[in-house]
């Protein structure tokens, strides 16, 4: 294949290989297969199975010079690729912080109410914030309430009884072990504003 440049020279691309200048010592022969795209050690995920349109991104290891099929869709093949998707580092750090708190499979905690004969169990992951939680609890326990003022407290990781609402939501759901709906008068000692 030839490429004609503006200066009129013919560059025979195929023959370039014969005259390749290398940066390594001479004599390090390596079998080069023309259609390969050689990976430079970047972890590269292989694309999804697409039988009709084969991607041309075949990986080869420098030791074996073998070619892995790009139809390999095992989970291991979906390893992260450097710089993909193109999200900047400062954003990634924000996501990591969010992800730390999110948990798979639900975050169930027991909720007791003073005076009620039985407890409930709720999945904290389902709620977006304190407002939703409060409404859900009101709804859940309305048959037990007798019109008094209640406060919602929770037991944290250290075993202390805390008033719900003091810390950011994400911090709350990661540290809440169980909840207790207390009669308002008993909760007075917990409030930071009383």
């Amino acid at each position: 294949m030839e490429v004609r440049t503006r200066y009129g020279d013919d560059i025979d691309i195929d023959n370039l290989k014969a005259t390749e200048l290398r940066l390594g010592p001479p004599g390090t022969g390596e079998e080069v297969i023309p259609t390969q795209v050689v990976s430079r050690g970047n972890k590269r995920a292989l694309p999804e199975d697409s039988t009709e349109y084969e991607c041309e991104y075949k990986r080869s290891s420098s030791e074996t010079a073998s070619v892995e099929s790009c139809l390999d869709t095992s989970p291991a093949a979906k390893a992260q690729v450097v710089g993909w998707p193109p999200i900047r580092s400062y954003r990634k750090k924000s996501f990591e912080a969010i992800k730390e708190v999110d948990q798979k499979g639900g975050l169930y905690v027991k909720v007791s109410m003073d005076g009620a004969p039985y407890l409930r169990k709720i999945d904290l992951n389902v709620y977006q914030g304190y407002e939703e939680l409060r409404l859900a609890l009101e709804d859940m326990f309305k048959c037990f309430s007798i019109g008094e003022l209640y406060a919602i407290a929770y037991e944290d990781k250290d075993g202390d009884l805390m008033l719900v609402g003091d810390v950011p939501w994400r911090m709350f759901i990661s540290s809440c072990k169980r909840m207790r709906i207390m009669k308002g008068c008993e909760a007075r000692g917990l409030s930071s504003n009383s």
């Binding site: 450097v82 996501f95 939501w169």
Partner: protein, 590 residues
């Protein structure tokens, strides 16, 4: 100074030739002083020698898009009266860790030259440069009238460097370190602003994590009566924010801290009152840890909002739908894909004047493709919905996991005025998820319909056809980003042959080789730069390019010793400064 007059050469009856420089130099310089755009100034300087001279004397701001295209000495020699410098350093793909650390773009050598050439320098705006604490200290001490420091996506410094700036820059009006990778050693730097210091107009430390002394911050905000832009970091609580707002109701741009509260389960009326005071706000950002209970407090401040950045707030569609009706004048909106298609429908119903939309993924690296929480991010439906409701859209950045050709064609039919179209289908080589065809027709539709398109980023399964379309139709295209696309050299060639205004071309993981690289021989000098990584280019191909085009710097970044023939990362750019003298060992100039 004696005024010069040029002879008029008027040939009556034939074509009129009037020499332009009829003015004395001082007048010409004065007139040219009104020309602000750096592109216009470049044109002005090419008219004739007199205009070149007048332009260089009257220029106060210089913009250098690639710090290695010119040397600080050349700049200082040409422009004697510079007060403001904008410099950009690393290639854009360094944002995604494709450029190794210690690559270069260090500001220090520039500062040393500027300290002697421009002792009255007032503004320095840097993007993707390396800045050390030593440099910041040098800057603070060398330029007594220094006013504005903006460091976007920079690295190499710590909060100690900020302390130097705070201590010595008595006339500082702007300190903005957004998105920079900074070594956060603590928040005491803020306390270094002296009590007599009152000139601050812009303060942005949103990307820092450590707590600043709130008392010092509150006092600073109180005494800086001209403060217009304040973007605090996550450590600032809602209550603290409320107090700051009471001190600075004149704010025009606000970045909040954590938007939740150490209070009982009720919204704070005082908070709402504080936001009610801020009627001049046109930009709002921050909103980390946003609690939906407190969002309504924001509403009164949203009446005049032009730009709302919710890209750190994991909002659901219902919360967004409640917030948006309060922002009738919105022109720019950034959101997370937690709002899903339903949230975008709310955008379509409420934001009639929207010009820019960016949708970022909340969970970009999820392996299964289904983010935790069961949400699916946004799809082609959300995209089409927005295009129907927001006909003025001209800038979009859209991260999604699935797309169709038909949807994209519909979007651009509804919004033909796109100038920036950046679509990122996060699964690599993803075809049209309904027809399983490549996404060629999608981008074909974009370039055929959007005649004003200046910036394009493509993704999904793409053949050379996409690039043929781009070369045929995208005549105003200036920036193109390509990843995991194309089939042969023909792809890249089509773009280089067909896009006369191309300035920046960045390519990764595509099967483009030496023919493609060399087909652009006579293009690269009119471009700012070319980046190619993990393509099929060889060292020899690069050498050939360098030999043919001596005014280009052809650099190969070589990180491992596996294969000595492949050029793993290639960076090509025009330069009048010759090859880099500060290149690290892994950057080889051909």
């Amino acid at each position: 100074m004696a005024s010069k007059k040029k002879k008029e050469a008027i040939d009556e009856g034939k074509s009129m030739e009037i020499r332009v420089s009829l003015f004395p130099d001082e007048v010409l310089e004065r007139v040219l002083g009104f020309v602000k755009s750096h592109k216009d100034r470049s044109s002005v300087s090419l008219v004739c020698k007199d205009w070149y001279t007048a332009e260089r004397w009257s220029r106060t701001h210089v913009f250098i898009g690639n710090c290695y295209s010119v040397s600080p000495e050349i700049v200082a020699r040409r422009f004697p009266n510079i007060r403001s410098v904008t410099l950009k350093g690393k290639p854009r793909f360094s944002d995604f860790n494709l450029v190794p650390p210690n690559w270069g773009a260090d500001i220090h050598s520039w500062l040393v030259v500027f300290a002697s050439a421009y002792p009255f320098l007032e503004e320095l705006r840097l993007k993707r440069m390396t800045v050390t604490d030593e440099s910041l200290d040098f800057l603070a001490r060398s330029f007594t009238g220094f006013k504005a420091l903006s460091l976007v996506s920079c690295d190499g410094f710590s909060t100690d460097g900020l302390a130097s700036i705070a201590s010595y820059c008595r006339n500082l009006t702007e300190l903005d370190i957004q998105e920079s990778g900074i070594d956060d050693l603590g928040g005491s730097w803020l306390s270094y602003f002296p009590e007599s210091f009152t000139s601050l107009e812009t303060l942005n430390f949103a990307n820092l994590n450590s707590e600043v002394n709130f008392d010092a911050l509150e006092k600073l905000v109180s005494r800086c009566k001209s403060l217009k832009v304040l973007k605090v970091n996550r450590s600032i609580t809602l209550e603290q924010l409320r107090r700051l707002l009471m001190r600075a109701p004149q704010l025009v741009e606000l970045g909040t801290g954590s938007f939740s509260q150490d209070h009982l389960l009720r919204a704070d009326a005082e908070l709402e009152a504080a936001f009610n005071n801020c009627k001049s706000l046109h930009t709002l950002s921050g909103l980390w840890e946003v609690s939906s209970m407190y969002l309504p407090a924001l509403y009164p401040a949203c009446t005049n909002l032009i730009f709302l950045n919710l890209s750190y707030a994991t909002l659901q569609s219902t919360e967004l739908a409640k917030l948006l009706p309060n922002c009738p004048l919105l022109r720019r909106l950034w959101v997370l894909d937690t709002v899903e298609d339903k949230g975008l429908e709310a955008v379509a119903s409420n934001c009639h004047f929207l010009e820019e939309l960016r949708v970022f993924p909340a969970d970009p690296f999820d392996q299964e493709g289904i983010p935790e929480g069961g949400g699916t991010g946004v799809t082609e439906f959300g995209f089409v919905a927005v295009s129907k409701g927001c006909p003025n859209l001209r800038y979009v950045l859209y991260f999604c996991r699935q797309m169709t050709n038909v949807a994209v064609a519909t979007v651009v039919r509804n919004c033909p005025n796109f100038t920036h179209f950046r679509l990122c289908i996060m699964n690599m080589c993803e075809p049209d998820h309904i027809t399983k065809d490549p996404m060629d027709e999608a981008f074909g539709a974009v370039v055929k319909t959007c005649k004003k398109l200046r910036r394009l980023a493509v993704s999904g399964l793409l053949t050379d056809r996409t690039f043929e379309y781009i070369g045929t139709y995208a005549k105003n295209l200036e920036t193109l980003s390509v990843a995991f696309a194309g089939r042969s050299d023909r792809g890249m060639q089509s773009v280089l042959e067909g896009c006369p205004k191309l300035r920046k071309l960045e390519i990764r993981d595509c099967p483009f080789g030496n023919s493609a690289l060399l087909s652009g021989l006579d293009r690269y000098e009119s471009m700012r730069s070319l980046w190619m990584s993990a393509c099929k280019v060889t060292i020899n191909g690069c050498r050939l390019l360098a030999r043919r085009m001596p005014r280009l710097n052809v650099e190969v970044i070589k990180e491992d010793d596996n294969d000595d023939t492949q050029a793993e990362k290639v960076y090509v750019y025009r330069s009048v400064a010759g090859p880099r003298r500060d290149a690290p060992p892994f950057v080889i100039t051909m």
